[in-house]
């Protein structure tokens, strides 16, 4: 038995693709933020830019759920789902409180 663990063979390519998508989304958000700063009454535009950026880390966890489900890593898929539930519960609790 190998003393090393197994790396998902598609992990590196998948991360490369995700990294490229994230950077493109960030460029778009930065451009939108710049427009929001430059135009008069640009607050709604700036808010869209901020919402785009804030959604990225949470969508990344969703992506992990999908990845780990595909390779059958159920334990960590479950952990990621629990995390998403907690992420959703936090703001809801704060709003109620």
């Amino acid at each position: 038995m190998s003393e090393y663990g197994t790396v998902d063979p598609s992990q590196h390519d998948a991360e490369e693709r995700l990294g490229n998508v994230i950077v493109r989304v960030l460029y778009v958000a930065a451009a939108v933020a710049l427009v929001g700063l430059l135009v008069p009454n640009g607050e709604p535009v700036a808010a869209v830019a901020i919402a785009i950026v804030a959604a990225v880390p949470i969508l990344r966890v969703g992506w992990l759920v999908w990845r780990w489900a595909r390779i059958g890593d159920r334990r960590f898929m479950g952990a990621a789902i629990v995390l998403l539930v907690l992420i959703g519960a936090g703001p809801l609790l704060a709003l109620v409180a």
């Binding site: 003393e3 998902d8 995700l18 990294g19 994230i22 700036a46 830019a49 959604a55 390779i71 890593d73």
Partner: protein, 267 residues
């Protein structure tokens, strides 16, 4: 924007997040802590996101460690938010300073690197290992396998970090990175990248609350977004070129500076 650039670059370099440095700077300009807190969260999210591609290319982000530890942090943050007001700001700030100093000493005392390159290890094992919190990373072309330990102690530290975040509003990177590295024995590059990933999640969920409550000045937010975007990329670029002991020494120095800033705030 300039402050966001500098603090995001430095924060990403050490896996601390920039908010703990940005927040005191903005408060010193006359903004109120309530105005500054969402901007700090935004800088954490942007710095974390900007660093993502470079850190994923280096295969130093261990998403499984990030997800597991983030669950403990988020639980702690919820508990901390609900318990806000129980502890005075003065006492809390001193606790934060003590934790930062302890982490600085713990990281700074250790010499050399814990995990050594393994000439037998094939390049194919570089990355996070399926179904476990172990993995391997590439250091100057050599493969360095690592095995995390003391998961329970690590999760407890992450829970405490979350509680402190929930109570105070500062990001928990200055606790998470040393806890992942010194308690759980992950290599400091992995600890730093993984923390950069996980603090982005904490920051994003808290930021949505602040936006919903109307606490974010979106014009200032747009400026912070632009500054942090460039800073996060610069920080992760520099991080990839530094040796683990250099990052650890830098991290220790930053933690001492943070402790000094925190103590100065309450004196």
């Amino acid at each position: 924007m300039l402050a966001a650039f500098g603090t995001s670059a430095v924060g990403t370099l050490g896996g601390l997040g920039g908010a703990i440095i940005l927040v005191p700077i903005l408060v010193s300009t006359g903004m109120t802590p309530a105005e500054v807190a969402p901007l700090g969260l935004l800088s954490v999210v942007v710095g974390s996101t900007a660093a993502a591609r470079r850190q994923m290319r280096a295969h130093t982000t261990h998403h499984r460690i990030g997800v597991v530890t983030e669950s403990a942090s988020t639980t702690g943050a919820i508990a901390g938010s609900l318990a806000a007001g129980v502890i005075s700001e003065h006492a809390l700030t001193l606790v934060l300073a003590a934790v930062a100093l302890f982490a600085a000493v713990a990281g700074g005392r250790r010499k050399g690197t814990r995990w050594k390159p393994d000439p037998e290890a094939p390049q194919s094992v570089v990355g996070e290992w399926v179904g476990s919190l172990n993995g391997a990373y590439s250091l100057d072309g050599a493969v360095v396998p690592y095995r995390t330990r003391r998961i329970g102690a690590g999760l407890a530290a992450m829970g405490v970090s979350g509680i402190i975040t929930g109570l105070s509003g500062v990001g928990g990177g200055f606790i998470k990175t040393p806890a992942t590295s010194e308690l759980m024995h992950a290599p400091v590059k992995v600890a730093s990248s993984t923390t950069t990933f996980s603090i982005g999640i904490t920051g994003a969920s808290a930021l949505f609350v602040k936006m919903t409550q109307g606490d974010l000045n979106v014009r200032y937010g747009a400026a912070v977004l632009l500054g942090s975007f460039v800073g996060g990329q610069v920080g992760s670029l520099v991080q990839s070129k530094l040796s683990p002991p250099t990052i650890r020494r830098f991290l220790s120095m930053m933690l001492i500076v943070i402790a000094a800033i925190l103590v100065a705030r309450v004196l």
